[in-house]
Symmetry: C2
Subunit: 243 residues, 2 copies
């Protein structure tokens, strides 16, 4: 892990860009940390530059609660090399959406599963590097999308002790099976009136999770309109489980 | 409204039993209130004496947040006169449950609708009396079951500005229609693994509500196992809307 830039934000949060091999990422740490901070990994749908304002806002909220936060670019996202197969799957998805036919499971599998296969080892390598920093101490949470990546991480990465997931569409069939193996506490956000989202799939996935403590919070406000109090509830979830 | 007993609880909360005509009830007010307190009406499934420990715990939580809280006995509950029709409906319900046949909508209508017709005017008369007390100032919230009563109150009683409802089974068909007329902010709690509850009916009812701000929070823990943090979230909901 190599830090490539460093700036102190106006609320005292230290924001550092890094690269881990070919993978760009950002680490935010609280301004005044007396002890190693617990860490929240911020998931997103890819495109770090475009997502920066929302990620930075979430990270600063984390830092205000005493958490470090980090994110990395997804495989194929931003300036990272695209895979021809993923581009084809994306084109097939858009064609299905434009013609109004139901999106075939097979397209979803081609779009999401290779992403999970590549992204999860990258997140784990990032975790290795972050946990070697003296200012970060764990425990670790995962927050955000892509939900199939969050589910896989929750199953295979024992250092992740709690996950806050955004319920989204295009969940591969295999993810519903994997969800049964998840046992860590979960906080799932669902935008009830998100017309681009498959609500029933989100409810089925929530039902499938094997965790004894799982909370589904459904709110109004459309795809990007998660209410402020829902964000605060999610932070309280992490405070309960990571502190 | 006639107060029949008065005691100061160990946390300073003043608990007063009252009668309003034939209806027994309990009022809890914060120990140290400098201004008239907003009020939360505590709904329950009937049987004030049996429900007392849980109602008192909820009321003390309300008082700790600066709310007054009040409850009344349901028609036919506790020592109040039973109606032969309601008893017959209850017997028919139990017979259906014992034989494992699906509970007919017609039984639910006979069981719940007359209760709504009687209980809602009683709650409104109680509200008249409570709001005439100098220590209670409004605004007013309704919290708890019976959900069909909460829905009717939310539609017909303009003094109720927010409602926290427990999703329960045995929702009359008419209540789904009425739910569309509800416009006040709602916080709906659903115990996801409550085997005695019809989860799909709860989700359908949440979907039907006309409110622009509505939150569904689903948790694990069975019928009576609402997690502590869920109670705290519900109180934050009332604090957002009644203060």
């Amino acid at each position: 892990m190599r830090f490539t830039s460093e700036q102190r934000l106006d609320d005292g949060v230290l924001e550092r860009e890094f690269t881990l091999g070919e993978i760009p990422g950002i680490l935010w740490t609280p301004g005044s940390a007396s002890a190693p901070a617990p860490l929240i990994l911020l998931g997103h749908p890819g495109g770090l530059h475009k997502m920066y304002p929302r990620l930075a806002a979430r990270a600063r909220h984390c830092a205000a609660e005493g958490f470090a936060a980090a994110t990395i670019e997804l495989p194929g996202g931003g300036d990272r090399p695209r895979s021809a197969a993923a581009e084809q799957a994306r084109a097939d998805l858009h064609r299905a959406l434009e013609t109004g036919v139901p999106v075939d499971d097979e397209i979803v599998d081609r779009l999401v599963l290779p992403l999970v296969e590549k992204a999860v080892p990258e997140w784990r390598a990032t975790l290795d590097a972050l946990l070697s920093l003296p200012e970060i101490g764990g425990p670790v949470g995962y927050a955000g999308g892509v939900i199939a990546i969050g589910v896989r991480l929750a199953v295979v990465e024992p250092r992740i002790s709690a996950a806050g997931l955004f319920a989204g569409s295009y969940v591969p069939r295999a993810t519903f099976e994997e969800a049964r193996e998840v046992t860590i506490p979960l906080h799932v956000l669902l935008q009830w009136d998100d017309e681009g989202n498959d609500r029933q799939a989100a409810l089925d996935l929530f039902d499938a999770f094997g965790s004894k403590e799982k909370t589904l919070q459904a709110n109004m406000g459309g795809h990007t309109g998660v209410p402020q109090f829902a964000g605060e509830d999610a932070h309280r979830f992490f405070t309960r489980h990571l502190k």
